[in-house]
Amino acid sequence: MKEKFTYVWSVIRLPVIAVVFGFLTGAVCIAVTGNNPVVAYIALFRGSLASIPGFGETMYKITPILFTGLAAAISFRCGLFNIGAEGQYVVASVAAIAISWFGQGLPRIFLLALILTAGFCAGGLWGGIAGFLKAKRGINEVISTIMLNWIALYLANYLVRIPLSPNVRAGLSPAGHSVVVPEVAKLTKLKAIVPAFGYSSAHTGIFIALISAVVMWYILFKTTVGYEIRTVGLNAQAAEYGGISKAKNTMLAMFLSGGLAGLGGAVQIIGLVYMVNQSPMLPGYGFTGLSVALVGNSHPLGCIPSALLFGILENGSRQMQLAGIPSEITSIISGVILVFIAGSLVIKLAGDRIKAKWGKRAMRTEQEGL
């Protein structure tokens, strides 16, 4: 029992320390504004967790970032750095709009399945491009995904402004947003099932996200496919030596990663926002996803509590604003958490190395003693 606890602690120690430092920094910022940090944090957590509608709001904030978190996690597990979840999310949301609009005559279940598949494939292909470039041309996926993010944004802006614009379809001049998802393709709101959710916009997409997390956990840790992906991530050379193709798994991991981000885009569109607006900026879910994956230790199930934390921060920022505290504090907290993780990932590695060195020295002494 104690061993198990020690193990769990060794895994979650870093994220926990990072989160504590994040909240401490946030507390300092709150104090700077002349407010009481304890009161503010109580408002934050009470607003996000204490009532059913409040928790519902947190749930719908969790949905997209759990998807992008899973996307980042699976790429990390293969030793890749997919910071293109943004772009994958964007192309998939446009694909979801297009399918929901052109397929609105189809039976509901069939249409929903089609939209989710299209979202997964659109995101997967967008991620797959980076995977292909990495596997075949050795192009760093960080650079290629950054480029693909912006290409995706402008492509989406074009598609939304012209081919998918309701005005253009009606023969008028272009508008800044796409057609609206038809009623038949919208995900069910939780309040339609459980009236207690009241004003909250939570939708069944959260279950799709949770199921995806479990499926990803199963694939990564219980199947050969996942084993190969993780082996490439741990040591690509050893994997190649053992007959596991680095190129194949790189492409596969980027496809799955992009697919998950894409699923997030599709679910967000048919679950919550129902249209895509023209935008000068990327939505930001992909970057939050990086934080989610890192705090969740790149473990699909670890992403769930981690997404909950970031969901609470996002939802709670409004509660704090109501209490007269600048809402940016929650973003500062997320930023600081990430800074600490970036720095401490390696404090851990250094710690392990020191331990290994001591271990070796102990062994040597033993051998010399013999």
Binding site: F81, I83, M281, F287, I332, G343, V346
Partner: protein, 310 residues
């Protein structure tokens, strides 16, 4: 008429290229020494914000620019500490800095001016041509009239960067550290110190790039005003193959794309301008693939260096 349009296109291209150029040169310094700088965006945000704040405080735009540079250096020190001493992941560190600076500037905006969105207009800005005598040149006078001090600084910095990195012993050290730090250390180069200096220079230039956007353009700070320019600068850096002069050409090309885009919109041309906006990114990917010449970055870029403890 055509000449006027051509000149306005050219000046607008150069003005749009200026912040990109400064930020891309910032990237050249840090990546040549082996530190990937995804944080350019965040450092530019810091530079844009603090230069406006200090212009408000002191009434002098030049002091504002200095503050932008200083805070750019502070911001890049976070990256340096994580990337060099803590041997952390440079991409995560960069992303973290981008998020942090977006949040921090919005927070300061809120507590200093009690408003969100943008600061009030600063009492001074640097949007006019500092070299008045150039305006007397026939035809080209109107061209020079629209250049800001930042334009001159950016182009001077191209040659400073080229000279320091390619024509001095120190520059050779920097490039050696970025290619093969172990070999560099064997011949007595201090890898950590070289990287620290380069990352701090990078911070100064990116901070200046941020000031270009605020003090040098609109005279105020607006949330989201950097809008991905740090990432376009990264693209220009790759497109320019990590070389200052080629990077300058890349920035001018990207600036021309956006200028053409703006011109097309102002003339009400109903073209899909989104595709013009995509060109820099597509061109960069093509360069990476090797269709338009092969881009090969510094070998050790992005890899933390472990000193040999013997």
């Amino acid at each position: 008429m055509t000449t006027a349009i051509f000149i306005s296109l050219l000046t607008s291209a150069i003005r749009l290229a200026t912040p990109l150029l400064l930020a891309a040169l910032a990237g050249v310094y840090s990546e040549r020494s082996g530190v990937v700088n995804i944080a350019l965006e965040g450092i530019m945000i810091a530079g844009a914000f603090f230069s406006i704040w200090f212009t408000h405080l002191t009434g002098s735009a030049w002091i504002g620019v200095g503050a932008g540079i200083v805070f750019g250096v502070f911001t890049s020190a976070i990256l340096a500490a994580i990337a060099i001493n803590l041997k952390g992941n440079q991409v995560i560190a960069g992303t973290a800095i981008n998020l942090l600076m977006t949040a921090l500037t919005a927070f300061l905006l809120e507590i200093i001016w009690h408003r969100s969105g943008s600061t009030p207009t600063a009492p001074a800005m640097l949007t006019t041509n500092p070299l008045k005598f150039l305006e007397g040149i026939p035809l080209l006078g109107t061209f020079f009239k629209q250049l800001t001090p930042f334009v001159y600084m950016a182009f001077i910095m191209v040659f400073v960067a080229y000279f320091t990195l390619w024509k001095t012993p120190w520059g050779l050290h920097v490039r050696a550290v970025g290619e093969h730090p172990r070999a560099a250390e064997t011949v007595g180069i201090d890898v950590y110190k070289t990287r620290w200096v380069c990352v701090l220079i990078s911070g100064a230039l990116a901070g200046l790039a941020g000031a270009t956007l605020s003090v040098g353009t609109v005279g105020l700070f607006r949330e989201g005003m950097v809008a991905g320019k740090g990432f376009i600068a990264l693209a220009a850096l790759v497109f320019g193959k990590w070389h200052p002069v080629k990077t300058m050409l890349a920035c001018l090309f990207f600036g021309l794309c956006s200028a053409a885009n703006i011109l097309a919109q102002s003339f009400g041309v109903n073209a899909p301008t989104e595709f013009l906006a995509m060109i820099p990114y597509i061109a960069t990917i093509l360069v990476l693939i090797g269709i338009v010449g092969k881009a090969q970055g510094p070998k050790a870029s992005g890899e933390p260096y472990e000193k040999d403890e013997k």
